[in-house]
Symmetry: C2
Subunit: 410 residues, 2 copies
């Protein structure tokens, strides 16, 4: 795999991609709440979507586009209303949004993807969306600032915008992958999470693009959790327009590996950004299970700990309550010997072994509290059964999480 | 099934049972923190225990007593330290506790059950336990006040003691079933929950006693959740001493049904008391799935909604955020058609249909808020697929839950 370089910017970093933001007054006032991502050239499109039985209308529309359209060329996003549980009227709104954008951008309506995030159950005011689409089409730009404005517009309870980009050389050509995402609550992805848009100028077949994305979410977006609630709108969309002019990637090999490496960097960064900006959270909580008999076991253990309300509350309190961690491992469904487990806490303040062979090491609580008082805290559990490992990302459970969600709709 | 009458009291309500409480200074100061339940006559004993891979030492000891001892006659409980993740030393503590109690009560040590609740990972000070056992043996009494003192002593973060009792006539004899339990956090039972002790003077075989208990927990303790965390110490113990002098229940039939009916009343009441006293909670949240294709489907849907952090936070905010309910049903793993679902909210302030066929009924938010502002709130979801139903109990997610758990150990 070739060297991957991190660069500034997000969705507009790859060649040929433009973005725009606009204030359409969908729900929020006095801020941008719609975004458009557009590619000069038609793109191969891949997507992964929520596994929730209740799927928002845009998820249904986008699945159809990704699976049956010859290409995609634009994504229209609104924040404020999720367009979930909205019946035929909600689906019609997606079709009309795509049609309006298609006409303005001179592309087929079935090449326009749509995405929504916000309150479930409310209908989107179609007139405002159509007005918003006009503003977006007129405001497109290919520079970094336009990408950043789009990343800002798709936020709901997020406190920080989330974008990143990398480059990698493939067959003598510089390929760029950029992305943006939003997500802060209702985060417990299963196949995808909330809204994430990744662009690339790589030339790659539809089949390999979808494979790269589907494989990568297993180690990135499917390994984060804020509150255990899997959203109805989760979507990760990936557009590749081929403008890097590398030889088209049509199968596995070094080129595909380099592309996957670059994609992984972007997806990893974006998913961590979501976990670290979980509703009300004060720290990014990284949990790694090592010494596991299988990847599956490692994922199960890491996700169970990162999802435990009691563990998350202890992290908020900077309390090295390892009993809750061992407890959460124990009810995960994975089998292991509790009396062989070692547990470590680590942050920029240091590293400490808290548990050895299932019982306390007699560590200093003072040192532990210092380690746990940082913006990023890592917990590593070693079950000493094999070589497999997996990492999950989440956050602490705080007063503000409750505050935000006790009265989100008003 | 014969008529069941509710009566006052708890574990000492059935004939021949005594209880005691004592302050042993295990962790708490200035309050009772140990309890003893004792039967004048040897009892058949049944138990259900946590499915957590990490099992506390008392769970291991009690499983052995229930499975292999000819009878049981006493239960020694301490609150403050869970005796979980304590290795051989922790198990030895159980054996020595049983031995000390056995000597003082003149019964075999393998007829003494033990139970602990509190912090995971700390060793119990054996000398204090032994001193406590002496106080308990000397303080036994058969009246209601002694049962109540025991129910008080086993509390940790509970704000209310939890006890109840009922009588039922079996074969012309009055059979009494009484119980007490504790539990407030780390509540998401799987096979059992926290600590619950049920006594009865019914005459019943070991086999039928265990069957009655194992079947009943599926609809009671396994259907409550406070925070999704399944404890390492969950235990429900049931002792039957036969002193009601009914003909011994040795198989299914009307007598067994009457006994199960009485047992169910006690278990149901106790499990609801735990859910309604969840850490920091302001209301008991009851969730019923009806119109389901199978009992299994109904349980899955009800538990998913009652466990959803976002739904629980909305209940705290008296917010009829039905989108989160439909969302939690959707990710439960159960299959259903979202566009056929009806959702109702009910409390003593009234009943309201919020959702019909998957979308809002256009209900009054004001009326909904009034209904949601009561001490007990019921949500009913109808998926219109069949006749099966199930109910789960939980509570709202509040600032105080976070507060209690951010700093539980100190």
């Amino acid at each position: 795999m070739n060297h991957i370089s991190i660069m500034k910017g997000g969705v507009t970093a790859p060649k040929g991609f433009q973005a725009a933001a606009a204030a359409a007054g969908i729900k929020y006032r006095g801020r941008d709440d719609m975004a458009l991502v557009y590619s000069q050239k038609p793109c191969q499109a891949a997507g992964v979507f929520t596994t929730n039985v209740v799927k928002a209308a845009p998820v249904k529309w986008d699945k159809k586009v990704v699976d049956t359209s010859p290409f995609a060329q634009a994504v229209v996003v609104n924040s404020g209303i999720a367009n979930a549980c909205t019946g035929q009227e909600g689906y019609d709104c997606c079709v009309k949004t795509a049609k309006a954008a298609g006409e303005l951008l001179h592309i087929p309506e079935d090449s326009v993807l749509v995405a929504s995030t916000g309150v479930i159950g409310a209908q989107i005011p179609l007139d405002r969306i159509q007005e918003g689409v006009k503003l977006l089409a007129a405001g497109l730009g290919a520079d970094e600032a336009h990408g950043t404005a789009a990343a800002q517009a798709i936020m709901t309870t997020d406190t920080r915008r989330k974008e990143t980009a990398v480059t990698v050389e493939i067959g003598g050509k510089t390929v760029t992958v950029g992305g943006m995402c939003k997500g802060s609550g209702m985060i417990h992805p299963n196949m995808a999470t909330m809204l994430c848009f990744v662009t690339t100028d790589a030339a790659i077949s539809h089949e390999m693009l979808q494979k790269a994305l589907s494989d990568d979410v297993e180690d990135t977006f499917n390994m984060i959790s804020v509150d255990g609630d899997t959203s109805t709108n989760d979507s990760v969309l990936l557009l590749a327009n081929g403008m890097a002019e590398n030889a088209v990637i049509e199968g596995e090999g070094p080129d595909y590996d380099s592309f996957c490496g670059a994609l992984h960097q972007v997806m990893l960064k974006l998913s961590q950004m979501i976990a670290g900006d979980g509703e009300g959270c004060t720290c990014l909580f990284e949990v790694t299970a090592v010494g596991c008999a299988s990847k599956e076991q490692a994922r199960t253990l890491a996700k169970s700990v990162v999802t435990s309300s009691l563990t998350k509350a202890a992290i908020f309190g900077h309390d090295a309550n390892w009993g809750r961690i061992l407890c959460a491992m124990g009810y995960s469904g994975a089998d292991f010997d509790p009396e062989k487990v070692d547990i470590f806490f680590e942050s920029q303040a240091g590293k400490l072994k808290i548990v050895e062979n299932g019982t306390s090491t007699g560590y200093s609580e003072e040192t532990a509290t210092k380690i746990l008082s940082q913006e990023k805290v890592t917990c590593t559990m070693d079950v000493k059964m094999g070589d497999a490992s997996a990492t999950a990302w989440g956050c602490d459970l705080t007063f503000d999480y409750v505050k935000i969600n006790a009265d989100y709709r008003s």
